[in-house]
């Protein structure tokens, strides 16, 4: 059995006093500080949006733009109870999950005759083998169907690699609530895996 690998988010996130200062000044209306803050966190926000949506999602650029706007709007509410980095990524997670849900709804009412889905949605895990992109896409598809809080927790925990404590700080809920949401999300994940014998078999082989 391999050692579990949970990739810790950017180590600098925990000691970003510089960002805290920019956030404080930005909340006070200092234009330069807002611009500097956005530039500092934008790369992580962009990458997180791609992790959550996939590289070919049509809303990727829009989600990044909305997330940056959302961060500017939310700055006055930032009290430093989590890192600026996590605060920003939570906004990305919420925005991306909402975008996936809208996309999911659109897909539901689309003309089945048009076979263009495959251009923007990688295949699900129902075909030969299991690879990284299929695992990613399964998680992303769960984000469209889970209850909002569970989806956000799943996004932060599995997609963005937050620890339990970081999820609790970023979402402002107690640790036990985070544990409960993770458990429920994993129950849904388990059902999805068990519904696909090929996926389950491949997972057994890989583990």
């Amino acid at each position: 059995m391999t050692t579990p690998l949970r990739l810790v988010t950017d180590a600098s996130a925990r000691k970003n006093s510089g960002l805290d200062e920019l956030a404080r000044r930005g909340a006070a209306g200092e234009t330069d500080a807002i611009g500097a803050l956005l530039k500092a966190v934008a790369p992580a926000m962009i990458r997180s949006a791609q992790q959550l949506l996939g590289s070919t999602h049509l809303d990727l650029d829009d989600v990044v733009q909305q997330s940056l706007i959302g961060l500017v709007q939310a700055l006055p509410a930032f009290r430093g109870e989590c890192t600026v980095h996590h605060f920003a990524l939570r906004i990305v997670a919420r925005t991306a999950v909402a975008a996936r849900r809208r996309g999911h709804l659109r897909m539901d009412r689309r003309d089945d005759e048009v076979d263009v889905d495959s251009l923007e949605r990688p295949a699900g895990p129902t075909v030969d083998g299991v690879d990284a992109e299929r695992r990613r896409e399964l998680v992303r598809s769960l984000l469209s169907t889970l209850p909002e809080e569970q989806a956000e927790t799943l996004a932060l925990r599995i997609v963005l690699g937050f620890s339990l404590e970081e999820v609790a700080e970023a979402t402002g809920v107690p640790m036990n609530t985070v544990r409960s949401r993770v458990r429920l999300a994993k129950t849904a994940l388990k059902k999805r895996i068990e519904a696909d014998p090929q996926l389950l078999e491949a997972l057994e082989v890989e583990s």
Binding site: P4, A27, G29, L38, I91, V114, D128, R136
Partner: protein, 334 residues
């Protein structure tokens, strides 16, 4: 029977390299019997390996500042206007394109305006929405009632010219859930001054300038809404007007697919080949499949076979592999 309790703390300790031998054994024992945790563990590593996409950070940052500023210059939205636009970010970007120009340097001449716009937006207000400080989510109940907006903006004193349009998007409230957008409560001394926001907006509304991004977004909307004719027209206009835009390569792939579905394999092939020539690899697997189908419909058997073989060579586990093998008359690989 797989357990429903998962040792999440142990996963975090493992990530920090803090597991002792006993904890490691416990975690391994759990992983041995829990497919969900094994999957999650692998998926987390998969997500960490995602590459950084190429987006213009300067442009995004500038648009974020200006879109927010211009949004707050608009009159307070009515209930009907609170419905979030579908692609607010791009729309806002289009509205402020006159300013944005892709970088802060490009707006240098507006340095007298931008800071004041942003300052007006970000100025501390004593009547900010007291919603939970840690959550970037707006409580819709606190924003439901139309509220007078406070704009401590002296821009009116110096009318902005030349770029005339400081018009806000038609429906300013961001669809970004978070937005602790300051909600102005009745603050008598300040409520007296909402009028300036109207003065800043030109009398005659002008449509936002069209950009490759906005046309691309409109085409995608039309396609997703099932209006293929409209979508193809917009995609073609994008390619004609902005052939070198970053959206062009994906446009060619999507247009090629639509043309193929519309029964025009020859023109589809032109677009699909142009996509492949662009060097963009994100849709390559799908485009190779579509290209083989185009050859099939054109009756070019040799080209079709070559196209399927190219697909299989580059993407042996493609979702189109079964079809490729079938068309090649080969047994599918297990």
């Amino acid at each position: 029977m797989m357990p429903d309790l998962h040792p999440e703390e142990l996963f975090d300790k493992a990530a920090r390299g803090e597991l002792n031998e006993g904890e490691r054994a416990l975690l391994d024992a759990h992983l041995a019997q829990c497919a969900a945790c094994r999957f999650a563990q692998q998926a987390t590593a998969d997500f960490a390996a995602v590459a950084m996409p190429q987006l213009n950070i300067d442009s995004l940052v500038t648009n974020a500042l200006l879109a927010r500023a211009t949004a707050d210059l608009a009159p307070a939205p009515t209930e009907a206007r609170r419905r979030p636009p579908r692609r607010f970010g791009l729309l806002a970007a289009a509205v402020v394109a006159t300013f944005a120009m892709g970088s802060f340097a490009a707006v240098g001449q507006w340095t007298g305006v931008l800071p004041r716009l942003v300052a007006a937006v970000m100025a501390p207000r004593t009547d900010v929405d007291p919603s939970p400080e840690r959550s970037p989510r707006v409580n819709p109940r606190t924003t439901a009632a139309p509220a007078p907006r406070v704009l401590e903006l002296p821009v009116v004193e110096q009318p902005v010219t030349p770029p005339p349009v400081v018009e806000a998007p038609p429906s300013p409230p961001s669809r970004v859930a978070p937005a602790h957008r300051p909600v102005v409560a009745a603050a008598p001394a300040q409520v007296e001054t909402p009028a300036p926001s109207v003065d800043v907006t030109p009398d005659i509304p002008q449509p936002p300038p069209e950009t490759a991004s906005s046309v691309f977004a409109a085409a995608n909307r039309a396609r997703l809404d099932g209006d293929r004719v409209q979508a193809m027209g917009r995609y073609q206009r994008l390619l004609t007007t902005w052939p070198d835009a970053v959206e062009a390569s994906q446009t060619r792939a999507t247009l090629g697919r639509l043309l193929l579905d519309q029964g025009d394999p020859a023109n589809a092939l032109t677009q699909l080949d142009a996509y492949l020539a662009s060097g963009d690899g994100t849709l390559r697997e799908e485009v190779l499949s579509a290209r083989a189908q185009a050859f099939m419909r054109l009756g070019r058997d040799a080209d079709e076979q070559a196209a399927w073989r190219m697909l299989l060579a580059e993407f042996p586990s493609s979702i189109h592999a079964a079809r490729a093998h079938a068309r090649l008359g080969e047994p599918a690989t297990p």
